[in-house]
Amino acid sequence: MKLFRLSSPATFYPVAGKIIPWFAVIAAVTILIGLYWGFAETPDRLGGTNPQKEYYRIIFVHVPAAWMSMWLYLVLAAWSAIGLVFNTRLSFMMANATAPTGAIFTFVALWTGAFWGRPSWGTWWDWDPRLTSELILFFLYIGYIALHSAIDDPRRADKASALLAIVGLVMLPVIFWSINCPDPNQCAALHQRSSMSEMEPNILAAMLIMTFGFWMYSFAAIFMRVRSTILNREADSTWVREILEKET
């Protein structure tokens, strides 16, 4: 089985090295197309029940970053679970490599949200359910990274932080449904409901293209990071020595 062979770090390392440039190029091209689409093919202002001026164009970085923040957390938790169940080395390394990129997208979602909230709501920040739960997701990523680096023994660090990642999974449905506030008196939701079906097709298209670009970027970044981790952890193996003889 080809797929199972790929789960060995020695096989994955050169394969990842070959496909990283492709992911990077596809990411750059799709992000450029997405940006062009978002800035040139969309209306400057939105009317309707939620009028927006030019600042709504933050949507093309805000929503894809927020989606990636949640998706990468799911990926992180999935690799952690696979690692705990099958005890495979590469799964934990993949989980580890996913966390920093996920944290970056979560930060970008929060940052761009603030710069969108200021002109549209009149405030940089509000303890709205969606904003608060996304902030907690950011702390989960930071907590995962901190816990992993705080434990010296890599195998124990892998297992402990994997458990944290899986427990933190409860935040994903909370973030997802946080815009559906049951009682407006209990939780004042500033954050807009998602209304993809009512969206102008060009806005939706630009958003989806950007999301795809961010996803491809994530592959490139995560594979780059996992390659470094593999080298560090397998430094004593023969295949790493062969690579070192060739490359240094």
């Binding site: 001026k53 030019e54 805000h62 969108w116 200021r118 970044a221 070192l244 490359e247």
Partner: protein, 58 residues
């Protein structure tokens, strides 16, 4: 649409470009940091291997 219109974003340039700028900055920083880290590890492990090889021959 002129280039000035594009950069001014209807007077919301600060908000729009701060958002895109931060995303671009962090992604570029991440990629350069990852490249540098990989090269450092390769160099360090290579050096380590050569030292061990020298000790082995002595």
């Amino acid at each position: 649409m002129s280039l000035t219109d594009f950069f001014s974003q209807g007077g919301y340039a600060f908000f729009v470009w701060s958002s895109y700028g931060m995303a671009l900055l962090l992604m570029l920083l991440e990629l350069t940091q990852l490249r540098r880290r990989h090269r450092t590890i390769l160099a360090r492990l290579g050096r380590l291997m050569r030292i061990q090889a020298q000790r082995g021959t002595q």
